[in-house]
């Protein structure tokens, strides 16, 4: 039957809002990592404008690929915008360009991958940064100058982290806006952040080390919880499983920050949960088994 009326809060609007909010994050990253230093005369104009190239590469490659695939040039633009936000600020542009091209190629081949493409990209950048480039999440100025960021700095975004995801205040604002949209799985970020924060709080109480509570303001966790965990394609749909999935991501992230670097734990945790989820779904669905966990 042809559909003749449809819910007025269309998914298209959700994508538009999503894109706008991501752009806001990019601007905050641009200010924090370069514009701010330009105003303090610590960076010249060319170095200041360099982060814009991350954005142009992401969007440009996406548009070119869509053009050659004969799809709408705006398709998956938000995905490519996220990529420019989650790289370390000091990541070399040329390698980034290569990765973006590889990402857009790989996306065609790995359409039904059980991992989300963005997460896969992030894991690749972590491997390259850690083992080959030996860089962390510091920007050029932080690499050469001593710094100390307090709790308020962490909250406002003056923080070491991905290029555009350091401001928790902005992330909270974005989460509130996204939550107003009917199609956003708003309970998932809440459960992820709670299941990560509560053990940290309990742990600091037991160890009487309240400096540890600062780890709650881990911008990587907040960004992942708000943007990557609720990604529709890879997350569950029923209320019960959404909670289980989110709690698993939160708890495993908490466990991994004690083992791995605090910045990377959450991505590995999500990768692990997505893998378990994908495999469980795959096997439970075999032979038309209706016991699918969704």
């Amino acid at each position: 039957m042809p559909i003749c009326i449809h819910f007025e809060n269309d998914f298209k609007h959700f994508k538009e809002i999503f894109l706008g909010l991501l752009f806001l994050l990019f601007l905050s990253g641009f200010y924090k990592n370069s514009l701010n230093y330009y105003f303090l005369n610590q960076l010249n104009l060319i170095e200041t404008l360099k982060p814009l190239l991350f954005l142009f590469i992401s969007l440009g490659v996406s548009v070119i690929f869509n053009f050659f695939r004969k799809k709408s040039i705006w398709q998956d633009l938000e995905e490519n915008l996220i990529l420019s936000l989650i790289i370390p600020p000091a990541f070399p542009l040329l390698i980034y360009l290569f990765l973006i091209i590889a990402y857009n190629f790989g996306k065609i081949k790995l359409k039904n991958n059980i991992f989300s493409n963005i997460l896969f990209f992030k894991i690749i950048t972590i491997i390259i940064s850690t083992f080959f480039l030996k860089i962390n999440y510091e920007n050029i100025i932080e690499q050469t100058n001593p710094y100390f960021y307090g709790t308020l700095d962490l909250f406002l975004g003056k923080n070491v982290g991905n290029f555009g995801t350091t401001s928790i205040l902005l992330l909270i604002f974005i989460f509130i806006l996204l939550s107003c949209n009917f199609y956003y799985k708003k309970e998932m970020p809440i459960w992820t952040i709670l299941s990560y924060s509560v053990p940290i709080f309990v742990f600091s109480l037991i160890k009487n080390d309240f400096l540890f509570t600062k780890e709650i303001l881990n911008s990587h966790l907040w960004f992942t919880a708000i943007f990557l965990v609720p990604l529709n394609k890879y997350s569950p749909v029923s209320k019960k499983w959404k909670i289980i999935y989110s709690v698993l991501v939160g708890i495993i992230s908490f466990l991994l920050i004690n083992i791995l670097k605090i910045e990377d734990g959450v991505y590995i945790a999500l990768l692990f949960v997505e893998f378990i989820w994908g495999v469980a779904n795959h096997f439970l669905n075999k032979g038309n088994n209706l016991l699918k966990i969704y």
Partner: protein, 374 residues
């Protein structure tokens, strides 16, 4: 109970505030079994005359023959426009007459199991349309208020039912006003207002929403009016209300039409199109089937016709948002039906169409969930 949705009204799909009539069709077409065809003789019939198995003639005229439409057979009666009524001269019952042996009179109405009312403490009269943009009940309430209330009152009195409520939608101002005008005469009947949620007019959803006990019974206002006509007026129901609306027509309206009329005839004389590139839906846009004008003969089951401009909603891959499951008022898991390509079916499905309505990928989920859609 799940949270129900309010469906935002499209200002292009509304009906005229005045009722229109289509009571003099040239021919009427009444469904007939193939076996009965040979037994029918060409003769004159009067309005209200029993033709066969509970089928009465809605007009006076001449039996003309049989029409075969998609392997369904219809008896054609040619209208002589004399409206010769079988009941002309038969005195109508007064309330005093009706009250004596009322329960015995009720039992003559064999479309309802009257024993169901023996242990009932609350009667609910459902005055809410099941489908959006249909206004049949509103017009019925406005034109037949006294009959509906009289019947309701007599039933509650006969079965000694203490609580009688009429449930209406908050946006249906006309119905609220119509009933309020008469309620002084029936102090035992009370009006209750419900929010404009979809599909609150569905009997099962209403039962759930109001958390009704087994001591309550829901009647629709149409059923009550049908009883009134057949039991109190002792007449045959020969007309029905029909909403014709949609964004492809200029003049959406509610008609009172003779049962058995061809839709084609009504549309030809009364409806002007904005856009001839339309799809016709029968009985509602949320759950109905698509049909052609030529195929529709008006029966009591046909309540609404929608002429909707063809929209270009392109179905995409499922985005796994899970909203279909979230909005389903009876929890019947359309997501699983989609993922198993219809192997999973749920008999609880009321075919409300909310899953399809909400789906951001424009997937017709009802098709997978409901065998009717396949």
């Amino acid at each position: 109970m799940k949270k129900l949705l309010t469906i935002a009204k499209d200002s292009n799909i509304k009906v005229n505030s005045q009722i229109s009539y289509f009571l003099e069709p040239e021919n009427v077409y009444l469904p007939i079994n193939k076996e009965l065809i040979n037994k029918m003789q060409i003769k004159s019939v009067k309005k209200g005359e029993l033709l066969y198995n509970d089928i009465y003639s809605p007009i006076s005229g001449q039996l003309k023959g049989v029409l075969n439409k998609n392997n369904k057979y219809y008896l054609i009666i040619h209208n002589d426009f004399r409206e010769e009524d079988l009941y002309k001269g038969v005195e109508e019952f007064t309330t005093v007459n009706i009250k004596t042996n009322f329960i015995e009179n009720l039992k003559k109405y064999n479309h309802f199991d009257w024993d169901l009312l023996t242990n009932i403490k609350t009667i609910i009269l459902n005055g809410i349309e099941d489908e959006p943009y249909v206004a049949n009940k509103t017009f019925l309430h406005c034109y037949e208020t006294s009959g509906i209330l009289q019947m309701l009152d007599l039933i509650s009195e006969a079965y000694k039912i203490p609580n009688v409520f009429i449930y209406l939608k908050e946006t249906d101002r006309e119905s609220i006003e119509a009933f309020n005008e008469y309620l002084g005469t029936y102090p035992n009947i009370k009006i209750k207002i419900l929010p404009d949620y979809y599909p609150i007019g569905n009997e099962f959803i209403m039962q759930d929403f109001l958390k009704l006990t087994p001591e309550s019974y829901i009647f629709s206002t149409e059923k009550m009016y049908d009883m009134y006509v057949k039991i109190i007026k002792e007449r045959v129901k020969d007309t029905t209300f029909l909403t014709i609306t949609g964004d492809a027509i200029i003049n959406p309206q509610v008609f009172k039409v003779k049962i058995g009329t061809l839709l084609k005839d009504i549309v030809k004389e009364n409806i002007d199109f904005i856009d001839h590139n339309y799809t016709m839906y029968v009985n509602g846009i949320m759950k109905s089937e698509v049909s052609k004008i030529e195929d529709i003969i008006i029966t009591e089951d046909i309540r609404a016709i929608y002429f909707m401009k063809n929209k270009k909603y392109v179905s995409k891959d499922c985005s796994n948002c899970g909203k279909c499951n979230e909005v389903c008022p009876v929890n019947c898991n359309p997501y699983l039906a989609l993922k198993t390509k219809g192997k999973y079916q749920n008999e609880k499905c009321i075919n409300c169409g909310l899953c399809t309505f909400i789906c951001p990928s424009y997937i017709d989920l009802a098709k997978y969930l409901n065998k009717k859609g396949n």
